[in-house]
């Protein structure tokens, strides 16, 4: 039974994705483009060269982190739409550490930066989680407000204390050379010109750890129990508040690791607007993966490819801009969520079992009459 529902989820996600993508492509026909040509450009721009593919994996890395940041609280029954703010705070802190102590040497420098970044990002998740648990404040609104507060903080520091002195762009100064992951990077060479870096390996590792945590430990079992029914979990002696707060701290930490990919892994500085809304895309990633940490790797890859593809559509078509990525994401989200909500294909759902019973009784009645 469990197995068949897993297959069901995969099928639904697949159908949802394909239907959503087709709908969005059809939309391009309205603007006079050839949908097939658009699809070809999307594919070519993602897989055309090792540079393109490296960029796709670079996006994938950040999306795995934000996907996990949405997935974990969801398992505990909370909706974290604050990954964007959490990743901003994490990345900002990493940049600040790298600018304040530029002389630190390699193995310790990135370690310190990551610890500090994850701590602050975790704090940015902790506060909404704690407010929810102790004061009942709705986490959706609080995390949304925290996104804006983080955006304000980052712009304050970028034009102020961390300002770049040799650039007119809205970005911080560069971090010390000892902080860069390039110092030992086993996989950057696979796509040397792209920002692809070893944070990718950390992202994959985190997905596996989260999967193990959720599925093979008492901790994960209790966390999911809280998500299914906080009242029942409390009755069973599980401290629901503790799990919800913890899930938000971990979520913040995961989101903060986007800074590992962006600041320490590639850019070496905090550029205003570096994130194409990774935090919100994380919602789509987690949704498509049905909150399965291993599935998140695949759905992050799909959305990473779409993100990369859409930036090239800007150049290769007359009417489609890079914002087309947003239309794609929106329609895929709605389509996947619609497939799940419609209980279609669901053998174990209540609706269909009720339906089955009523059909059976009707057949029996009909047989009696005959």
């Amino acid at each position: 039974m469990k197995n068949s529902s897993a297959w069901c989820s995969i099928l639904k996600s697949f159908f949802g994705f394909v239907v959503g993508l087709s709908l969005a492509l059809t939309l391009t026909a309205l603007a006079g483009e050839n949908p097939l040509h658009v699809l070809v450009v999307l594919m070519r721009s993602s897989f055309g060269s090792s540079y393109d593919f490296g960029l796709v994996l670079f996006y994938t890395t950040s999306l795995v982190f934000t996907g996990l940041a949405v997935c974990l609280p969801f398992q505990a029954g909370l909706f974290n739409i604050g990954a964007e703010g959490q990743l901003t705070m994490g990345a900002l802190t990493m940049a600040a550490v790298g600018i304040l102590w530029p002389a630190l040497a390699f193995p310790w420098a990135p370690l310190l930066a990551v610890l500090a970044g994850v701590f602050v990002a975790g704090l940015w998740g902790f506060i909404p989680g704690w407010l929810r648990a102790s004061r009942g404040s709705h986490e959706v609104i609080v995390t949304m407000m925290f996104n804006f507060i983080a955006a304000g903080a980052s712009s304050y520091f970028i034009v102020g204390a961390l300002k770049s002195t040799d650039s007119q762009n809205p970005e911080t100064a560069s971090i010390g050379a000892g902080y860069l992951l390039k110092n030992i990077d086993p996989i950057h060479g696979l796509s040397p010109d792209s920002p692809f870096n070893s944070a990718f390996l950390i992202a994959i590792l985190m997905s596996f750890i989260t999967w193990l945590l959720l599925n093979k430990t008492v901790w994960g079992y209790e966390l999911k129990a809280v998500g299914l029914s906080p009242e029942a979990a409390s009755t069973a002696g599980i401290n629901a508040k503790k799990y919800r707060i913890l899930s938000m701290i971990l979520a913040g930490g995961f989101a903060g690791l986007v800074g590992l990919n962006e600041i320490l892994g590639s850019a070496g500085k905090f550029r205003l607007g570096f994130s194409p809304d990774y935090g919100f895309m994380g919602i789509a990633v987690a949704l498509l993966a049905r909150n399965n940490p291993l599935g998140i790797i695949f759905s992050a890859f799909l959305f990473g490819a779409l993100q990369k593809g859409a930036t090239d559509l800007d150049l290769e078509t007359a009417t489609i801009t890079r914002d087309f990525a947003k239309i794609l994401q929106a329609i895929i989200i709605l389509s996947v969520a619609g497939f799940y909500a419609a209980k279609f294909l669901d053998s174990s759902s209540e609706n269909s079992s009720v339906l089955k019973v009523s059909i059976l009784t009707r057949i029996k009645k009909w047989l009696k009459k005959a």
């Binding site: 739409i81 609104i141 804006f148 304050y156 919602i283 909500a341």
Partner: protein
């Protein structure tokens, strides 16, 4: 001295002006949330309203037709949202997020096709723009809203849909229909709010011109505890912070402009945490009603 009081007066006037789109969106959100539908798509409704109004006002020369078009665009987008959250019962937060994305992806697409520019619509001449009318509209709306919400049957029905949907069903009124109407009304109001952005506060549609106002409007209605009059006051207050931060841009002041910008969000979090007295959301907010 005279200079200073003049400054304060003009600051207050511009606060009132920028509060207009906030008020429309916040009242729209209030109707939707009080009926039980979580409304995080106000930003999308505002953007699409602003775009449609600017286009119509550009082609017809009439800002009133622009407002009408903005309302229709808001209703349309709210209808799409309603199909997913009310007919299919998709999670309201997921759907709201998608609706915002859809609006922000569609707007540049439309300007590119119509005006061959990735950003703005052509500037509207002064006769296709509003001078003061939206301010009076907003004032009329706030009076009407308080009356309608508490004194009429349909206003009470909306409140019941969000507080005690089962009771409403027992009384013979459809919760689903009530939520549909409320959601569409929300789209219309927020669409009009968007229209005032492009035909009243500025003279064209420009990319991302909403700049988070939809979320500020949501913050205002939460800060206003989901009630019409306090929401009105919250809109004034957030309008004031907005006017102040515009005034502080590029000025070397003691208070950093970013701090003024985050004030509405900060206050909303503090209000939600219950430090300004109890703030309670409608009981059935976000819940779907399963019949049978």
């Amino acid at each position: 001295m005279a200079q200073e009081s003049l400054n304060l007066f003009s600051l207050l006037m511009s606060s009132l002006r920028v509060a207009v789109p906030l008020l429309f969106a916040a009242y729209g959100g209030l109707i939707s949330e009080r009926s039980g539908v979580i409304q995080i798509a106000l930003e999308g409704f505002l953007l699409i309203g602003a775009l449609t109004a600017a286009i119509l006002a550009h082609y017809t020369g009439s800002p009133w037709l622009g407002v009408l078009a903005g309302a229709c665009a808001g209703i349309f987008l709210a209808g799409v949202m309603g199909f997913f959250v009310l007919a299919l019962k998709v999670d309201q937060i997921i759907a709201g997020t998608a609706i915002n994305l859809l609006a922000f992806g569609t707007a540049p697409f439309v300007t590119k096709v119509l005006f061959d520019s990735t950003g703005s619509s052509p500037a509207l001449p002064i006769e296709s723009r509003f001078t003061v009318a939206p301010m009076f509209l907003a004032a009329a709306l706030s009076v009407l809203m308080s009356y309608w919400f508490y004194q009429t049957r349909s206003g009470l029905v909306v409140q019941f849909a969000g507080e005690a949907p089962q009771a409403l069903e027992v009384a013979g009124t459809s919760v689903l229909k009530t939520r549909w109407k409320s959601l569409l009304a929300c789209g219309a109001l927020a669409g009009i709010g968007g229209a005032t952005l492009s035909t009243y506060l500025s003279s064209a549609y420009s990319p991302n011109m909403t700049g988070g106002r939809g979320f500020i409007a949501l913050a205002a209605l939460i800060f206003g505890r989901w009630k019409p009059l306090p929401t009105l006051l919250a809109c004034f207050f957030f309008g004031f912070t907005d006017a102040l931060q515009i005034r502080l841009q590029g000025v070397n002041s003691l208070i950093p402009v970013q701090f003024v910008q985050i004030l509405p969000y900060l206050f909303t979090v503090i209000a939600l945490a219950g430090f300004f007295g109890q703030s309670r959301a409608p009981k059935a907010l976000g819940q779907t009603l399963n019949r049978g």
